[in-house]
């Protein structure tokens, strides 16, 4: 089943690329004068991105070398207070790959008693990708890039707390109990 899901995800990428090439073909047919400028823009964008891939590659090798999923699972396993926040933030930042790969592990952690706030914080920090930082720096400058990432990391904690509060407030058994009490 996992293999099927992977194959499905993989083919989606190629479908998407084929669709974009088809769109390009259509545009070139409808407005031939646009076809060359589009290619030039594409090559320019590729040229900007290419050197960054080397840095991204090195970061990926290092994170794979020094961080493993089992360790993450162990330390996010219960309501660990400050330690739990720090670990969920760091784990979110360094986690790689499609989110679909992470869902089964997160479900497993949730069933083992990991607080939802840590899972939410983990998911939020997946948006803070250090390996893509050079791209953010290239496009938006270092002041903006660093500020955005720091603000996102801080607010990931608030999002964790708020989401867990909302989930608990509308938790069915608790909610029903509250209504019953009010009726009594």
């Amino acid at each position: 089943m996992k293999k099927n899901k992977k194959q499905k995800d993989s083919s989606k990428k190629w479908y998407f690329l084929s669709l974009v090439v088809l769109i390009y073909g259509f545009v070139s047919w409808y407005a031939p004068e646009k076809s060359l400028p589009i290619l030039i823009s594409f090559i320019k964008l590729l040229g900007q991105i290419a050197p960054i891939f080397l840095i991204i590659y090195i970061i990926m090798v290092l994170t794979n070398l020094y961080i493993n999923n089992e360790k993450l699972r162990k330390h996010m396993g219960d309501d660990a207070g400050l330690k739990g926040w720090i670990i969920s933030i760091l784990a979110g930042i360094v986690s790689m790959g499609s989110i679909y790969v992470w869902y089964p592990l997160l479900k497993d952690l949730q069933q083992k008693g990991v607080k939802d706030k840590f899972i939410v914080t983990f998911l939020y920090n997946r948006g803070v990708k250090l390996q893509w930082l050079p791209v953010l720096l290239l496009y938006f400058g270092w002041v903006y890039a660093i500020t955005l990432l720091i603000v996102m990391i801080i607010f990931s904690v608030f999002q964790g707390i708020i989401t867990e509060k909302l989930i608990n407030t509308f938790d069915k058994p608790k909610y029903n109990g509250l209504i019953k009490k009010q009726v009594e």
């Binding site: 990428k13 190629w14 998407f16 690329l17 669709l19 974009v20 090439v21 769109i23 390009y24 407005a31 400028p37 823009s41 594409f42 964008l45 590729l46 991105i49 891939f53 991204i56 590659y57 990926m60 090798v61 794979n64 070398l65 790689m96 989110i99 679909y100 869902y103 089964p104 997160l106 479900k107 949730q110 939802d116 899972i119 939410v120 998911l123 939020y124 997946r126 948006g127 803070v128 990708k129 893509w132 791209v135 953010l136 496009y139 938006f140 002041v143 903006y144 500020t147 955005l148 603000v151 996102m152 607010f155 608030f158 999002q159 708020i162 989401t163 909302l166 989930i167 509308f170 938790d171």
Partner: protein, 141 residues
């Protein structure tokens, strides 16, 4: 350093990079098409010049167009070049990586309906807050 582990890490990193290439190529190509075909005035029309309304539009766009951060940065940069406010672009960027409308069915399946619903709702509003605070700090530096 363990050579076997290094080889394995190298292989995983290489695989991850290769896996993202079709999407990155597609997005770069799509951005090239859009920037050459869609006039910049289109974005200016979509965004109204009102700080909060633009932030909301950026938030909605980012929520629906979720994907790899790098593609969000590319689109965000193009939006900024088109004259869209930094608050709207930041809201777009944050929503792009934190709100997942298309992923929410899978998220609900694994982590629960309430989890997926409240996480996405709170991330949606949080994107605006994060954007405003980020831009305020950047402007004050």
């Amino acid at each position: 350093m363990n050579l076997v582990k290094l080889k394995k890490s190298n292989k995983i990193a290489f695989k991850n990079i290769v896996k993202t290439l079709p999407i990155i190529f597609s997005m770069l190509f799509l951005v090239s098409i859009i920037t050459n075909v869609v006039p910049k005035s289109f974005y200016q029309k979509l965004f109204k010049g009102n700080l909060f309304l633009d932030a909301l539009i950026g938030d909605l766009l980012g929520s629906f167009l979720m994907g790899n951060p790098i593609t969000g940065y590319i689109i965000g940069n193009e939006l900024l070049k088109s004259g869209i406010s930094l608050v709207a672009v930041t809201t777009f960027l944050v929503a792009w990586v934190t709100v997942g409308i298309f992923q929410s069915p899978a998220e609900a399946l694994f982590l629960g309906k309430r989890f997926a619903l409240f996480r996405n709702i709170s991330a949606f509003f949080m994107a605006i807050v994060v954007a405003i605070i980020t831009v305020l700090i950047v402007n004050s530096i």
